[in-house]
Every structure is written in structure tokens, then in C-alpha cells.
């Protein structure tokens, strides 16, 4: 028996968005509370467009998006209150320091000042941003800027974190740090939806993986389920991914289980 919609961290139904051609085409996607969900797919599959619509950065042509039961299209402010968005090219203010950036984010999410200060201190410590806390962001490396943006995303303790290629440009140590922080959040009950092209990351971190192609979800499940769906001989996620996306136009239900 399916779970009631309100218990899902994210419930997407019949979502569609076209630019010059359909980017997302009737997508159905459901992520449970406390789940680490990874979206995979070739370039142009519609992953980023989907996540941007969930984050309220793009308006869908049709469909619905519910975040913890809140209709994100009807009441975007309520949905955004429990959500955080982080892209692969984080946009932060060059002329602010990381601490000032976090102070600003705290203001945007109306986090009480004492709480924001404590959380900012913790995040700066966890992410190794201490030496840069009072340095303007203009001179920080890409990895450090990514960490600043991640700290901003976590400051209001979101229940749903949406990440678009969060490991792009990070060195091994920084990537490990970010993975650890995200796993800790999931262990604490937070949900994560992430896109990545790094299959190893999806393999090691995700509870469930969704494979998109042609704007649709063509397969979904745990790593073992995806391998089985991809057929015999496809033992690695890479094999399964290539096999599943080779037939991209078919929706998830059309694939043989």
C-alpha cells in the first residue's frame, strides 16, 4: 500500500517543462523522508531542470510538486522554509565574508540570531572554514566557495536538501567532508535529492537512484534493483546506467523489472 503523500519529503506528479523542446516530460518522482536520493542521467536528461523547479527557480508548465505535504507551487514560501538549494556553481557575494554571508542567509530564513550564530560557528568548524571566516569571498578557491555555499544551505537546518552536482570542482578531501556532512544530515532525518555524473558517488551514498533520460524517469530503485533491471552482464552501476539510458525515451514502467 502506498504511503500517504504527506509523509513524502518530495512528491512530484506529472511535472513538465519545455523550452524549445520538452526538458521534463510528465515526471513522477517520490522521495521518502530521511532518504538519500540520487538522480542520474546523461546531459540534457532534465535532472537540473527538475531540481530547479522543485527549488522554485523555474515555473513548471504543468504538474505538481509537494514538499512534506506542502504544495510548493501554491505556497512556495512555506515549501522553501524547509528546503535548501545548492548548485554546482554557487553564487555567493564576493564582497561579503563567509561569516557575513551566513548572517545574511540567517536573515533570509529568519533564523533567530543566537541560533544562527551557534550554527554558523559549528558549520564553519565542520567545514574547515575557520581561517577564511573573516576574509572576503572574492579570493577564495572554488572548493572553499562551495563549502561556504553549503554552510549557507545547512544554516537553517532544512528538512530537504537539493543539490545539483555538488562535488564538481571539489578536491578529494573537500568532497569527503561534504559527503560526511550530508550523510550526517540524512542520519538525523533530513532528505537529500542530488544530481551527479559521478556514478561512484551515487553508488556509495544513495539509498535509491533514479535514472532520467529524455525528461522522464526511465528507472528507479536501489543499486541492486537497477542492476537487475539492466539485465544480465550489467554488474556495475556504470554498465546498468549505460544500458538503461540507451533506451531513454521509455518511462520507468515500460522497462522490464
Amino acid at each position: 500500500m502506498p504511503e500517504p503523500a504527506s509523509s513524502a519529503a518530495l512528491d512530484i506528479r506529472d511535472l513538465a517543462k519545455s523550452f524549445e523542446r520538452p526538458a521534463v516530460d510528465g515526471l513522477q518522482l517520490r522521495v521518502a523522508a530521511g532518504e538519500y536520493y540520487t538522480l542520474l542521467g546523461p546531459n540534457g536528461a532534465g535532472k537540473t531542470t527538475t531540481l530547479r523547479m522543485v527549488a522554485g527557480l523555474l515555473k513548471p508548465d504543468r504538474g505538481s510538486i509537494a514538499v512534506f505535504g506542502v504544495d510548493a507551487l501554491a505556497d512556495p514560501v512555506a515549501a522553501k522554509r524547509v528546503m535548501a538549494w545548492l548548485s554546482d556553481e554557487p553564487m555567493i557575494y564576493d564582497k561579503l565574508t563567509p561569516l557575513e554571508y551566513l548572517q545574511f542567509v540567517g536573515g533570509l530564513w529568519s533564523v533567530p540570531s543566537e541560533l544562527a550564530a551557534v550554527r554558523a560557528g559549528d558549520l564553519i568548524g565542520w567545514l574547515g572554514l575557520g581561517p577564511y571566516a573573516d576574509t572576503r569571498c572574492e579570493g577564495l578557491s572554488k572548493g572553499t566557495r562551495q563549502k561556504v555555499a553549503l554552510a549557507g544551505a545547512l544554516l537553517h537546518e532544512p528538512r530537504l536538501i537539493i543539490l545539483d552536482e555538488p562535488f564538481t570542482g571539489l578536491d578529494a578531501a573537500a568532497a569527503r567532508l561534504v559527503k560526511d556532512v550530508l550523510r550526517q544530515r540524512v542520519a538525523a532525518g533530513c532528505s537529500v535529492v542530488m544530481t551527479t555524473h559521478i556514478l561512484e558517488v551515487a553508488e556509495r551514498m544513495a539509498d535509491r537512484i533514479g535514472v532520467m533520460a529524455g525528461g522522464r524517469l526511465v528507472a528507479e530503485g536501489t543499486l541492486d534493483e537497477l542492476r537487475r533491471r539492466a539485465g544480465p552482464g550489467n554488474t556495475s552501476l556504470e554498465d546498468a546506467f549505460l544500458a538503461l539510458t540507451a533506451d531513454g525515451a521509455k518511462p520507468a514502467g515500460a522497462l522490464a523489472a
Binding site: 522554485g56 522554509r81 553564487m91 564582497k95 548572517q103 542567509v105 529568519s110 544562527a116 577564495l140
Partner: protein
């Protein structure tokens, strides 16, 4: 045939990029057909020629006679004015060549000597500055030739020579700054120097004219007896450019040779070290950022307060943006000085200051509103925050009005003491002018990095023109209201009509 990565090959590459930039400039970034572009350009050129005809029609006797000292002094003054603007443009262009990463990393990592790129780019700058300057100068040259004979067409050569010299001096100045204050500070310093050079001669000449003759007219000053008595005789080499411009072929040849030699010398001297400078500039852009004063303790802030504070901090920490915004006010100093000097004894100076302040408020608000509304560096953060777009906009407009209030409060305070009625009219005018400029920026809002502040005027010329027209009209309203006449209603109606027309053609209205 030109070999790959030769100087000629780079020149063709640069020419193609420049042509595409010009197309964007002419089309305002929209897709338009060549025929439409050509028609629009033709109308613009015809309009400028009509203006030049109107200006020169009264001076036909001067143009047909032999050039005397009075004419040479006037032409030299005008050329120096033009040259200061060209030098300003050249400084900007040279700074961009060092700092804009664009394709530089691709080129610097390729096995092509970096000097070729810089050599071509310096030459391309001279061509671009020539063309841009001719946009204003060509109609005057053409009409002068129409009235005074074909020899006046030598003006084209003078503009080209001045462009070459401006690029040579700009390269020298920028590299001197580079060595003096280092690559990190040079970027901002060079842009400020460029803006000051561009403004200083115009403003200085106006101050001199007002101080001596109580007029804003540069012509009155340059043709005055005081200037004439101090100016050297017609045979002086200082008049070389002026003589070239009025038809002396030998003078033009000398000028072209000297200026081309200056540009060639700059290329030979600096191009071989371009790679080194560009790398240093690149290093400066990735060097650790400035340490800020230890941040103040976290204070409970509403989203609106956080947004307002962010806007003010970003503005205060960017000296270049600040200088660009305040530079608009610099041009208002001469009229303020003129009004003060002319009306101090009549006791009506305060009334006449009203239009200047109202106009300044409109111009400043336009720039600040663009920065706040369109120049958002983290649009996704703001869009993903649990704050409605209306609330974000309101906070940003409040930030603009807060800054306007800080700038104009001292003037209003002084007026309130000396003339409360005028102070009230000025306050009203400032609010309406700043409000209108903000509305126009809202209707024409886009999404851009704050660093593209200078491009805002080319990205929407309609918004720029509407902003200027509404500021001028509200200045008229303020002046008439301060004078206590009901005639203020007339420009007020015109201002409302300008706003209505602007809204009707704005993209906001178009998209419903």
C-alpha cells in the same frame, strides 16, 4: 594566405568578435534583421547630421575663411576635450585586456607568443576608439566639409591619430600603475583614473567658463579675450592637430606619423611583457581576498533588514561601483556652481538648486536601483529563500531610498533652515524623481552581475533615455513648485505621460 595564430590571423579573429559586439550594441541585444539594423543606423546618422547642420549653419563664414588664431584655439580646445574622453575609453579598454579572463586563459595556455595577442588588441583598441569617437565627430566633420570644403574631411584622420595616441598613453599609464601599486589595486585605480580623466576636462572647462563669464559655455571661454591674449601664435606646434583638422595636409601627415609611431612604440615596449602582466593580473584575481574587520555579532534580522543591509554593505565595499555612481553627480557640480554664482545675491539660489538636486536624485536612484534589482550576484539564493518576490523587491527599493536619503538629507536640512517651502518642493521632487527612476529600472529589470554596471546603459537604451527624461521633467516640476507656481502641473503631467509610455513599451508590460 595567413598562417594559424599569426598576427593577421589574430587580427581577423578580433575583427570578427568586434563586429559581433557592435551588432549587439546596435540591436540592443535583440535579434534583428540586417535591413532593420541598417535602417535604424541610417536614421540615427541622419539625425546626428541634422543636429550638426543646425550647430554649424551659423558659422559658415568661419568655416570658409582661412583659419585664424581664434579658430585654432577653439578647435584645439575641442580636440583636447575629445582626447580626454578617448583617453578615458582607452584606459578602460587596456584594463579590460589585462583583467578580463574571457579567452585569455585559452590563449595564454596555447603555444602562441602572448605578445601577438596584445599587439593585435592594442591596434584593435585604436580602431574601436576611432569608430566610437567618429559616431559623434563624423557628422560635425561631414557638415564642416559641406560648408567649408573637402579639406575638412581630414578630421577623420585627426580622430584616428588621436585614437592611436590615446591607446599608447593609456597602455603606458596602466603599466605604470601596475608597477606602482601592483596588479591587485590597478584594476580599480585604472577605472577610477579613466572616469576622472573623462570628466575632469569637461568639468574643469565649465568651472573656468562660469568663474570668468558666468556661463556654462565652453565656446565663450575658449573664444574669450583672456584666453586669446595668453594663447600662443598661430604658428605654434601646439596647434598641429587643429591645423590638421581644418585642412592642412602636411600637419595631418605629421600628426599621423607621430601618433602611429607612439602606438608602435607602445606595442614594441609593452606587448612582449603582456603575458607577464596578464598572469600577474590573473594571480591578483585569485589571490586571497581582503580580510574584513571581525564581523559584528549576529543580530536578529528580518529578511527585509538582511536584504537592505546586504545592499548597503556591497555598495560601500565596492569603490569602483561607488565611484561610477557618484561620477554621475560630478557632472552636476558646474550647474550648481553657476546657479550659486548667478543667484547668490538675489537670494533665489536655493530655489534654483531644486532642479539640480531633483535631477541628481533621479540619476543616482537609477544606478542604485539597477544594482539592487538587476545586479544581483546570488539570484538563486534569493529565489530559493522563503521570502516572496514582492517582499524582496520592497526591501531592495527601501535600500535604494535609504541610500538616496543619506546623500540628499544634508542638502534638504540646509534648505529647510533657509527656505522651508523650497525644501518641501525639493523633497517632493527628489522622491518623485527617484521613485520614477526606480520604477523604470523595475520595468526593465534583468539579471546581471554587478560588475556589468557600465553595460546597463547599452543593454536598454529606452530605459536610460526614459530615466533621463523623467529626471529632467521632475526637475522642472521641482523648480516650478519651489517658485510657488501652479505651472508645475504641466511638467508633472508630462512626467506621468513619460512613465506611462515607458511602461507601455517595457518588457514587463509586454509579458503581462
Amino acid at each position: 594566405m595567413t598562417g594559424a595564430a599569426s598576427v593577421t590571423w589574430f587580427a581577423r579573429h578580433e575583427a570578427r568578435l568586434a563586429w559581433r559586439d557592435w551588432r549587439v550594441l546596435l540591436s540592443g541585444g535583440r535579434r534583428r534583421r540586417n535591413v532593420t539594423l541598417a535602417l535604424g543606423f541610417g536614421c540615427f546618422v541622419a539625425f546626428l547630421h541634422a543636429l550638426a547642420y543646425g550647430g554649424l549653419a551659423r558659422s559658415t563664414a568661419l568655416l570658409t575663411g582661412p583659419p585664424d588664431k581664434r579658430m585654432l584655439v577653439y578647435v584645439t580646445g575641442t580636440l583636447v576635450l575629445y582626447f580626454s574622453l578617448m583617453l578615458s575609453q582607452a584606459m578602460e579598454a587596456v584594463t579590460r585586456a589585462f583583467y578580463a579572463r574571457g579567452d585569455l586563459e585559452l590563449i595564454l595556455t596555447s603555444p602562441v607568443p602572448a605578445w601577438r595577442v596584445f599587439a593585435v588588441r592594442l591596434a584593435a583598441m585604436a580602431v574601436t576608439i576611432t569608430l566610437m569617437s567618429l559616431a559623434l565627430a563624423a557628422p560635425v566633420i561631414d557638415i564642416a566639409a559641406w560648408f567649408g570644403g573637402l579639406a575638412y574631411l581630414q578630421g577623420y584622420g585627426v580622430v584616428a591619430a588621436m585614437a592611436m595616441l590615446s591607446v599608447a598613453i593609456a597602455a603606458m599609464l596602466t603599466i605604470w600603475l601596475f608597477r606602482l601599486i601592483g596588479p591587485r589595486r590597478t584594476r580599480v585605480a585604472a577605472q577610477i583614473v579613466a572616469a576622472v580623466i573623462g570628466a575632469s576636462f569637461v568639468i574643469g572647462l565649465q568651472f573656468a567658463a562660469i568663474g570668468s563669464y558666468g556661463s556654462l559655455s565652453r565656446t565663450a571661454f575658449l573664444q574669450s579675450d583672456a584666453v586669446m591674449s595668453r594663447a600662443p601664435g598661430p604658428g605654434n606646434p601646439l596647434y598641429l592637430a587643429a591645423r590638421a583638422a581644418v585642412g592642412d595636409g602636411v600637419a595631418l601627415a605629421i600628426l599621423l606619423v607621430v601618433c602611429a609611431a607612439a602606438l608602435a612604440a607602445a606595442i614594441v615596449a609593452y606587448a612582449p611583457r603582456f603575458g607577464e602582466f596578464a598572469l600577474a593580473a590573473g594571480g591578483a584575481s585569485v589571490a586571497p581576498g581582503r580580510r574584513a574587520r571581525r564581523s559584528a555579532a549576529f543580530r536578529t534580522a528580518s529578511p527585509a533588514r538582511a536584504l537592505r543591509r546586504k545592499e548597503w554593505v556591497l555598495l560601500l565595499r565596492d569603490p569602483w561601483l561607488m565611484s561610477q555612481s557618484l561620477m554621475q553627480l560630478l557632472y552636476l557640480l558646474p550647474p550648481i556652481f553657476l546657479l550659486y554664482r548667478s543667484f547668490y545675491e538675489t537670494g533665489r539660489a536655493s530655489t534654483l538648486l531644486t532642479p539640480v538636486l531633483v535631477m541628481a536624485a533621479g540619476q543616482l536612484a537609477g544606478g542604485l536601483a539597477w544594482l539592487a534589482i538587476s545586479g544581483e550576484d546570488a539570484p538563486e539564493l534569493i529565489a530559493s529563500a522563503p521570502v516572496t518576490a514582492a517582499r524582496v523587491l520592497r526591501a531592495k527599493v527601501e535600500a535604494v531610498f535609504g541610500a538616496i536619503g543619506i546623500v540628499f538629507a544634508p542638502f534638504l536640512a540646509v534648505l529647510a533652515i533657509t527656505d522651508p517651502g523650497t525644501a518641501l518642493a525639493t523633497l517632493l521632487g527628489i522622491a518623485l524623481s527617484a521613485g520614477s527612476a526606480t520604477l523604470i529600472q523595475f520595468w526593465f529589470r534583468g539579471q546581471a552581475k554587478r560588475a556589468y554596471f557600465r553595460r546597463r546603459q547599452t543593454s536598454s537604451r529606452i530605459a536610460t533615455i526614459a530615466e533621463a527624461l523623467s529626471s529632467i521633467t521632475w526637475a522642472g516640476v521641482g523648480a516650478l513648485a519651489a517658485a510657488g507656481t501652479l505651472l508645475a502641473v504641466i511638467p508633472a503631467v508630462i512626467a506621468v505621460l513619460i512613465l506611462a509610455g515607458t511602461w507601455a513599451i517595457s518588457p514587463t508590460h509586454g509579458t503581462g
